[in-house]
Amino acid sequence: MRLRLPLLIAILSVAFSIGGASLPEQTVWSGLIIATNSPPTEPTPAEVTQIEGTLRKLFGYSQFQLIGEARKTLKTGEEDWLATSKYFSLHVDSRGEKADAYVLNLKLFQEQKLLLETKARLSKASPLVIRGPQVGDGQLVIVLVVQ
C-alpha cells in the first residue's frame, strides 16, 4: 500500500512529461524581399533559396534581396511580431493553430500607411507569397514560411 502512491505519482509524471514533450513549437519566418534583375550584391538568404525557383517563375526576377525579416517561435500559437525594413513593415498577429495551420492576421505598412490587410491559414507545408508594390525596377515580395 505504501508503494502505490509513489508508483502512481511516477506514472503520472511520466505521462505528463510525454505529453509536454509532444507539444510542437514551430518557427514562422517572415521576410520582406526585393526581387530584381540587377546583379547580385549579396548571397540569397537560405530561407529564400528554398522557394527561389518558385519566386523566379512567379515574378520573372532572378535576384532576391532580403531587406527585412523576423523569425518567431510559436509556443501558444497566439503571438504577434513585426518584420521591418527601413520603409516597410509587416505586422503578423497569430490567432492560434487550427488543423495543422496557423491563422494569421497580416498587415503590410509602408511607413505609417496601411497598404494591405489579409487573413490567412498558413499551412506548415505551404509558404505564403504576397506581391507588394513596385519598388524602383524591382518588386516587393513578402514570404511567410513555417519552419
Binding site: R4, L8, I11, L12, A15, F16, I18, G19, S22, L23, P24, I34, T36, I51, G53, T54, K57, L58, Q65, L66, I67, G68, S85, K86, Y87, F88, A99, D100, A101, V103, Q110, K113, L114, L115, L116, E117, T118, K119, A120, R121, L122, S123, K124, A125, S126, P127, L128, V129, I130, R131, G132, P133, Q134, V135, G136, D137, G138, L140
Partner: protein, 118 residues
C-alpha cells in the same frame, strides 16, 4: 443454582444487550472487511483518475502531427484601403506543384528605388 430476582433481571438484561450488540458489531465488521471500504473507494478513484490522465495524454500525443500537412495555405480575407490605393486589385491563386499560395496585389503605387533599403 437458583437465581435471585436481582440476578435474574441482571442476567436477562445482559443477554438482551448482547443480542442487540451483535448485529451492530457485524455491520461494522462488514464495512471494515468488505470490498468497498472507504480506503478502497479512495484508491479506486485515484487509479481511475490516473488512467484517465494517461489516456488523455496518449490521445493528445497521437493527435500531434508528426509530419507536415498536405494542405495548402489559404487566404481567408484580404483588403486594401481604397483611399490609399484606389487602383489596387487583389487576386489569389495556388501553385499546387510548388505548394505555394500567392496573394497577387496589382495597382499599388510604384515607389522609388530608395524604398528597397534595409
Amino acid at each position: 443454582m437458583a437465581l435471585s430476582n436481582a440476578d435474574f433481571f441482571s442476567h436477562q438484561l445482559r443477554e438482551r444487550l448482547d443480542r442487540e450488540n451483535v448485529p451492530v458489531r457485524s455491520e461494522v465488521d462488514a464495512m471494515q472487511a468488505g470490498w468497498w471500504t472507504i480506503r478502497r473507494l479512495l484508491w479506486g478513484g485515484i487509479t481511475s483518475l490516473a488512467v484517465f490522465a494517461i489516456c488523455t495524454v496518449l490521445v493528445f500525443h497521437d493527435r500531434t502531427p508528426s509530419s507536415q500537412s498536405q494542405y495548402l495555405t489559404q487566404i481567408l480575407e484580404y483588403r486594401v484601403d481604397p483611399t490609399v490605393s484606389p487602383n489596387a486589385t487583389i487576386s489569389m491563386f495556388e501553385k499546387k506543384d510548388d505548394h505555394v499560395t500567392v496573394l497577387w496585389v496589382d495597382g499599388l503605387q510604384s515607389l522609388p528605388p530608395e524604398y528597397a533599403a534595409k
